[in-house]
Symmetry: C2
Subunit: 444 residues, 2 copies
């Protein structure tokens, strides 16, 4: 698939230079998700030009598939008339997705164009936060009363049915979710059988207030294509389907990957330079503070550095080994926390194991680096100093790698975002202080 | 979900101390995936003890759900009798998953216990590499000849049907895939209609040799729960279903996250210290080489450092700002490569934009850091030196952040694994040389 998008980019970039008809016909054969990926891959001017070649009737679905930041570049300057055309057939789900980019007057415009049911769905979903399951539901489900029979189900099944419908939902009179019945089970059961007789035994129900990524991962493992979503009174609100779930999970992972560099998953490949620079400057600023902090600690040892310049030469080795060892532990623990595998009950055993790994690698690399340093500068005492500093820093890195993400999670701060900055600060300072402190004691 | 696992760990750790019956009853109510997550979360002794409380009949499904490294700790010492019990009902898919851990004599034993069809399926799938779609297929599909009618389909639909079956596959006489028909479409169509009349227009077919993560992402976006997989002659081999696809995609993302710290997604939270230390030592060693390389460049400026010790104090600031700015660009480009959004056609525009962002942030932070350094050490020339070094390093980091992953991808090296080591090496060396070189020229 990635190959196909790459080819498509080349084709479009070439078509730009030649003929808009070629461009329009290339686009016509692509699905909305691929056109969205394509638009994100184009520099802003070419993106705008390509966007204009997309038929009006397909623009909405393409826009919905795009990332927030990239989408912004296309709709920033749209006129009210253009909005009216674009929003003519919008439904609640699409408006929810677009609402991140839209000023409230455009949202109101869209709501005024919707039928009552859709705007009610929108209002319901908009009550929930981004990270709650209730925001991501749809209403394309087959629902029957709890006392319905197979024949009622068969009647329902002759209608047009939305993708990812593998079960029927049964509700009681209060509208609360009661049971689920597999469609394939309905097909092999006599007409007069009550549906409750063939309902599923182990069937998960999602809570609207539940974290949407947890819910989505549960759905992915469930073996079903959609699961019902209920409110606190067990009332059936809608369903989460596997397409929406996969998007949520993939966005979560992308967010984790981007967070490690202080960015979010909406970051646009071709956002305007000024905007992109502004967004990234904050992260650079935070890191600058921690770098100055490390410098301040080095500054304490100016006199030592002046006398033993070899210490200045070797400083990066001590900092780097601590940072790498710590980030290995940190990455393992962040994954464990995300999977729910790290808890009070195993934290102690985990810390013991990681510190054990740190001690083993600390000793090995202390010896190696100590030997290299002794040989390089012809001074075994320098080898001893760097060896001890490496050992101390790697063990401390392992300890920090476990404790920092656990503490951050406790205070509801995303460890994927802040974990590595804090860890590096710790390993830099511990490394420099251990190395230069030992140097002051043993070399002067 | 993550909450539930965390609770479960606590329960099991407490039950360990009290009563095995409690433990067994806690386990009985959990599904295989959750027990697998639980076992991975336990230190090796408790893991072994808990494993023994799982009924024989469920052990295989739990083992299949576990990560390779964690699984290894449980099966390392199993006797031939234990293997015979465990493998009694194994099918091709499960054996494929376990085969990473099994010596060939146990694989042969398992094959001898299978029926002919299953061992044929195993042999077929084992021909494909881990990253090829053909390895991940199953055979639970509904297949009819191309000229079948709705009534034939209805007959087939009265059988027991595997989860995630939303379409019937039609094949021609040569066994080549021809068309797909939605089950829900079959239900609303008269008995005598040929199935080809109601087949899907836009339906993707996966190639067995195709990259399995690409195929899995395509399935996730397709709106179907499973897609057919064919060989080079278009012969229908099996299908990829959405549960398998989600696992492949999630493992891919986990792999990306772990790769940034030089680990793989199979890394066990509680692997034995010696094994874990050995696996991680390699990464530390590679990083050590790059750190020594940076030190060697610093060593060229020993004389300067001796005279201007402030340079030694500020070195980490220059290195850190370059590293952070570079990793932002790197992360964005790695994602773009993974999504297929970075290609020859837009590489130049992308480089221009990233270098632009680097120049803006370079100038801003050069001024800030230059001012701080001038004030701190009371020497405006030092401020000028560090400012220029920061500017050079951030711009060079942006350039490297684009070019390094693109080059690595070209040579088929995973940029998520090696990108950041190489980048940091470049930004360290450029930063130190620019800073100390300018210092030598302007401060001595």
């Amino acid at each position: 698939m990635s190959e196909q998008i790459t080819d498509l980019i080349e084709e479009v970039v070439h078509a730009q230079d030649t003929d808009d008809n070629v461009l329009a016909s290339v686009l016509a054969s692509q699905d909305a998700a691929d056109i969205a990926l394509l638009l994100e891959s184009l520099p802003v001017d070419e993106r705008q030009h390509t966007w204009e070649q997309i038929p009006q009737s397909r623009r909405l679905e393409v826009l919905v598939e795009m990332r927030v930041d990239a989408r912004e570049t296309l709709i920033a300057d749209m006129s009210r008339e253009q909005w009216l055309t674009l929003l003519a057939d919008i439904d609640a789900e699409d408006l929810l997705e677009l609402s991140y980019n839209l000023p409230s007057r455009i949202i109101d415009l869209a709501l005024s164009l919707m039928d009552e049911k859709q705007s009610e769905y929108f209002a319901d979903a908009a009550q929930f936060d981004d990270d709650e399951t209730g925001r991501w539901i749809n209403h394309d489900m087959l629902v029957l009363p709890q006392n319905a029979k197979v024949r009622d189900a068969m009647r329902l099944l002759r209608r047009e049915i939305a993708p990812h419908t593998d079960t029927l939902f049964l509700v009681n009179r209060a509208g609360q979710f009661a049971e689920a019945v597999r469609i394939t089970e309905v097909l092999r059961t006599p007409d007069h059988t009550p549906l409750v007789d063939i309902s599923e035994d182990a069937f998960s129900v999602l809570q609207a207030k539940e974290d949407c990524v947890d819910a989505a991962m549960l759905l992915q493992k469930s073996g079903f294509s959609a699961l019902p979503v209920v409110d606190e009174q067990q009332k059936l609100l809608g369903r989460l389907d596997i397409t929406a779930a996969s998007e949520l999970v993939n966005e979560y992972y992308e967010g984790q990957l981007m967070a490690s560099a202080g960015m979010d998953e909406e970051e646009d490949l071709f956002s305007p330079v000024a905007k992109s620079a502004r967004k990234r400057a904050i992260w650079l600023g935070i890191n600058l503070l921690t770098a100055f902090l490390a410098s301040a600690f080095i500054g304490l040892f100016e006199a030592t550095l002046q006398q033993v310049v070899a210490l200045a030469v070797l400083m990066p080795v001590v900092a780097s080994m601590g940072g790498i060892a710590g980030s290995q532990t940190l990455t393992l623990i962040i994954r464990g926390l995300a999977l729910g595998q790290v808890s009070k009950a195993n934290l102690q055993a985990l810390t013991r194991k990681e510190v054990g790994v740190g001690a083993v690698n600390g000793v090995i690399w202390a010896v190696v680096i100590g030997a290299v340093a002794s040989f390089w500068f012809g001074d075994p005492r320098l080898g001893l100093v760097i060896g001890l500093a490496i050992l101390a820093n790697i063990i401390c890195a392992a300890l920090s790698g476990v404790l920092i993400p656990v503490l951050l999670e406790k205070f509801d701060i995303d460890p994927a975002l802040s974990g590595s900055v804090i860890l590096t600060t710790v390993t830099d300072i511990v490394g420099f202080v251990a190395f230069l402190g030992l140097g002051t004691m043993l070399l002067l």
